[in-house]
Amino acid sequence: MKPSANVEGEQTAVHFDAVTKRFDDVVALNAVTLGVGRSEFVTLLGPSGCGKTTLLKLAAGFLGPDGGSISIEGKRMNDIPTYQRGIGMMFQNYALFPHMSVAENVAYGLKTRRVPRVERDKRVADALALVKLKGMENRKPRQLSGGQQQRVALARALVINPTVLLLDEPFSALDKSLRTSMQVELREIQRKLGLTTIFVTHDQGEALSMSDRVAVMSEGRIRQLGRPVDVYRSPADPFVASFVGDNNRLRGQLVSMQAKQAIVALGDALVKVSGESLSGLEKSAAVDLFVRPEQFSVVAPEEPCAIKGSVVAQIYQGGHVDLQIECAGERLLVRSPGEQAVLRWPMGAPVGIGIQADRCSAFPAA
């Protein structure tokens, strides 16, 4: 089979071709096609039940597909059992063998590969050094902290030089500060080793910050596949718009449509948006406008603005302030940089809201 190329033009390391998986009557994956480039870090992002973990399990071989094919490095994997796939995997609960020491855990994959003792010891030591766990060789997993256990799990998956690294929500059990530092560290190691990686998470922040590309999934399909910045800036559909990052949904009306640009009326104001997603809509059709909290600007109510409302909640976040502003019965989330907003727009203050028109996305009203 000829390896297909992905967007970046590199060779495809993992390829899902129209993969379908059913559990009894439930379709968990519906003809999903996805190519992961060599050395690429691709995240499968979606709410629980969207099929992301199923797709990962299919790549690992814990499940078999009901349709379509999965290939790794150009080789069809459908009928190859997990233990012959050469993958490395990190589990949500780490799945460290509790009856083995740290060193034995890491050495496990080398023993199954019959790596000679001397080389094995060296590679275990190197892997533990890579994840900064030197000196922990003889501890049992239960004697380690959550972060250390995760490092052991990573070392165990990396030491076998896997063709693909599969990560199943590995950070979900860590507290926030540890999580961020582990994310950075994992990404550094992944870059250094040039390791093809498929990462599953429901945390959109994690997906945006770590990935080369993100596949946003829902109901067994990939809704959008793209770089984090593309997925955030130009969501492909309302689901992606509301799932990735914070977003406000506003009902507007299509005023005019010209080639690539549409003008949408929002109350008294007119907003220019990209017209691609609105093609085919009649004039004056209802439109859902998605505006990010940082695309709003708060102004004094007498100044020209799109919407008027009043402040109902202030959420001080240090570097920025999130304001909830009630406008005609709906609450909008508005992000104001710095901390002046706390004093400038107190609770109950009447305010006007302006919109950075070129950056929001619009879809036909649901």
């Binding site: 690992a60 071989g61 814990f62 059992p81 997990t82 233990y83 012959q84 796939r85 050469g86 993958i87 490395g88 995997m89 589990f91 949500q92 609960n93 799945a95 460290l96 063998f97 509790p98 009856h99 496990y108 994959g109 199954t112 590969r113 165990r156 998956a157 076998i160 599969l166």
Partner: protein
């Protein structure tokens, strides 16, 4: 300390008393027998007027008891080991696979809990006579296997349920084939459950009386059967002395297992990891 209301204090006292009474009832028979075992007189009376160790000596020296003890060890070792293998495999299949008539098979496997022991014993007696099987150890062992199987099955099944399958997935992802996963990950993690299953089976088998009465012969009689035969002829405290040794032996066995595996694991009330 948090101040307590009178109501709470009364409730606490009542609770404490209830627990003590229940414990007393649980310990009562063993306590009575233990005290009776030290009676100097050759009658099973309570409480004794004079004290002696002599019935322990008599129980240990009595040939039928010695024979019964060793017969019991043979039967127990074989039956609980066979039950562990068979029950373990069934537990594995029931836990891991879906197949038609699964619940029916589960039902049959635990049916010895429903069928009285004397029925099993009688059934085997008739069957053995029918096929001309001599009343040797084989019949006793097979009979015991069937009686203890549900307990072993249950014990291994619970351990399997508690075993997180991601350990096995992790091993497979590291290149271990099914047999290697079984021997290096699954079985070591199941060990407490297997030991507890075996131990339960062994204790039940060693103490089993009703069915054993039917299937044992003079040559193969186990200790409980020997005790029954003894009590039909004699009524001296050597029975009680034997009971005390029984209790001490079993307690020592459990303490031993506890030292290695932890009581929670042995009794299978804790998760195995």
């Amino acid at each position: 300390m948090i101040p307590r209301s009178t109501y709470q204090r009364v409730l606490r006292l009542v609770g404490l008393l209830t627990v003590l009474v229940i414990i007393a009832f649980l310990v009562l028979p063993a306590a009575v027998v233990t005290i009776a075992a030290f009676n100097d007189k050759p009658i099973l009376s309570f409480p004794p007027q004079t004290w002696s160790w002599r019935w322990f000596g008599r129980a240990l020296a009595y040939e039928d008891f010695r024979q019964g003890f060793f017969n019991g060890l043979i039967v127990t070792a074989w039956s609980s080991t066979i039950a562990l293998c068979v029950g373990g495999m069934f537990a594995f299949v029931i836990d891991r696979y879906k197949f038609p008539l699964k619940s029916a098979i589960e039902g049959i496997l635990i049916s010895p809990l429903v069928i009285p022991h004397f029925t099993v014993g009688l059934g085997f007696l008739i069957l053995a006579a029918q096929v001309g099987l001599s009343r040797g150890f084989a019949v006793v062992v097979i009979c015991h296997v069937i009686l203890v199987l549900p307990f072993v099955l249950r014990s291994v099944y619970v351990s399997l349920r508690n075993l997180d399958q991601s350990y096995e997935y992790a091993a497979a992802s590291l290149g271990a084939g099914p047999l290697r996963v079984l021997t290096t990950v699954t079985l070591p993690l199941l060990l407490p459950g297997l030991v507890s299953g075996w131990l339960f089976a062994a204790i039940l088998s060693f103490n089993e009386f009703t069915a054993s009465l039917f299937v044992t012969s003079q040559r193969t009689q186990t200790l409980p059967v020997a005790m029954y035969n003894y009590v039909r002829e004699f009524a001296d405290p050597s029975m009680a002395a034997l009971s005390v040794m029984y209790i001490v032996g079993t307690a020592a066995l459990i303490a031993f297992a506890n030292a290695f595996l932890g009581l929670g694991k042995v009794l299978n009330i804790e998760q195995s990891h």
